[in-house]
């Protein structure tokens, strides 16, 4: 049975992202390498689109923090660095924000 994507919270560096409209966790970006079966150059990314600015500023760029996603059938916890953020405005629309967090192994 499908699960509604509702009641979801996304937190990074102890602050909730506000009014999250889209969320995507991609764990794994390249194959495991060397002797360790799980070590990899690219652990993956978390992309979050939201309507309020919590945690999205130049001051947070490059910061490392704990990321927690919960609710609506989604559960994820790990450590990630704020790699990229986007602020956008379009005529006759609300301001929109997006971040990409790089997961750290």
């Amino acid at each position: 049975m499908a699960t509604y994507a509702t009641g979801i919270t996304a937190t990074w560096n102890s602050v909730d992202f506000g009014e999250v409209t889209e969320l995507k966790v991609t764990h794994g970006g390249s194959l495991p390498m060397a002797r360790a079966s799980t070590w990899t150059l690219d652990v993956g990314t978390i992309e979050i689109a939201c309507l309020t600015t919590a945690n999205i500023s130049v001051a947070n760029y490059g910061k490392r923090g704990t990321v927690t996603i919960a609710g609506g059938g989604l559960a994820y916890s790990g450590t990630a660095v704020l790699e990229k953020f986007t602020l956008s405005g379009v005529v006759n629309d609300v301001a929109r924000y997006a971040v990409t967090l790089r997961i750290q192994g």
Binding site: Y4, G7, T9, E19, T21, N92, V94
Partner: protein, 130 residues
């Protein structure tokens, strides 16, 4: 204006700029030109199932288009070409009872000449709001 129900539309007389047309079909339309369904969807994943989707009004108001939202469209038999942008009074009576009499402007018109048929025209008049 009161009409017997049902009324079949016979005995309908349409006059545009003091000329009575031999009409075969009349459509009177009324819509609210200021009504809008446009909203910004600001629903988010933090909402619970069953909750009302969140929306916001658009921040900018629509520009005035001059649209009154009310038109009379009619089909007629005859070789009169109704020019666009003409203004005048359109009056419709049904069985001797006035349905409407309003100032209007021609929004569009067509005149069709075809083999084995009468010359037929169609016009859409944008009428002033009552």
């Amino acid at each position: 204006m009161a009409f017997e129900t049902p009324h079949d539309g016979s005995g309908t007389v349409l006059t545009w700029k003091s000329t009575t047309y031999t009409v075969t079909n009349v459509v009177v339309s009324a819509t609210d030109p200021t009504a809008t369904e446009d909203k910004i969807n600001v629903s988010h994943l933090g909402q619970t199932a069953g909750e009302t989707a969140k929306t916001l009004d658009l921040p900018l108001a629509g520009a005035a288009s001059g649209d009154t939202g009310q038109t009379v469209q009619f089909d007629y038999i005859g070789k009169t070409l109704i020019a666009d942008k003409e203004t005048g009074t359109i009056a419709i009576t049904v069985g001797g009872t006035s349905l409407l009499s309003r100032a209007g402007t021609v929004q569009s018109s067509t005149l069709t000449l075809a083999t084995q048929d009468a010359i037929r025209g169609q016009a859409t008049i944008r009428i002033a709001r009552s």
